[in-house]
């Protein structure tokens, strides 16, 4: 069965420090992978997605993620965190075809990011 694991429930980093949020997935075929960010009381905003091709994916707000098939991982990174990055981050895997736009998404439990001044 498909699953997504985000092992870190809560991470605190200092502003300006680098960030890595971990995501591991379990899926039988080539996965379609996504990272979403959710600010309190808000919806889900897509940061980036991986469908195929280059395993290093660039997203919005200076985020990037690297797909590592051998480790079943899709970790999210940012070289320098800003206070406005404080939010909850969700990794998701999709079972879709045609560019990962069909079928449902399986979400991880999320990682809450706090940023210290």
């Amino acid at each position: 069965a498909q699953s997504v694991t985000q092992p870190d429930i809560h991470i605190t980093v200092s502003e300006g420090a680098s960030l890595e949020l971990r995501c591991n997935y379990s899926y039988g075929a080539t996965p379609y992978l996504f990272w979403y960010v959710q600010s309190p009381g808000q919806g889900l905003q897509l940061l980036l997605k991986y469908f195929s091709g280059d395993t290093l994916v660039q997203g919005i707000k200076g985020f990037e993620a690297e797909f590592k098939r051998s480790q079943s991982s899709f970790n999210l990174r940012k070289p320098s965190v800003h206070w406005s990055d404080a939010a909850e981050y969700f990794c998701a895997v999709g079972a879709g075809v045609d560019g990962g736009s069909q079928g449902n998404l399986i979400f991880g439990k999320g990682t809450k990011l706090s940023v210290k001044p």
Partner: protein, 112 residues
Amino acid sequence: EPEVTQTPSHQVTQMGQEVILRCVPISNHLYFYWYRQILGQKVEFLVSFYNNEISEKSEIFDDQFSVERPDGSNFTLKIRSTKLEDSAMYFCASSRPGYGYTFGSGTRLTVV
């Protein structure tokens, strides 16, 4: 940039009442979804809808739930007789091949 619009943003209802959550997906998208997020928990898939019928549903989506696309623009989720445990944030999403998924801002449903 096109958005998925959900109304209302917050709804309070009494246990046992029917509620309808409304969504306007992106106009040229073909697939429509409802997800649920209970406070402090992960986002869970409820149902997907394509070509005017349900294409997939989860175990959560029991007989108390139904979806409808009553016209060319709206996509609704109905809960027939709400329970306390239905209190959650409900997200609508739409997608189109090659473009990924777009989520709405959600409707917070509180059942009292």
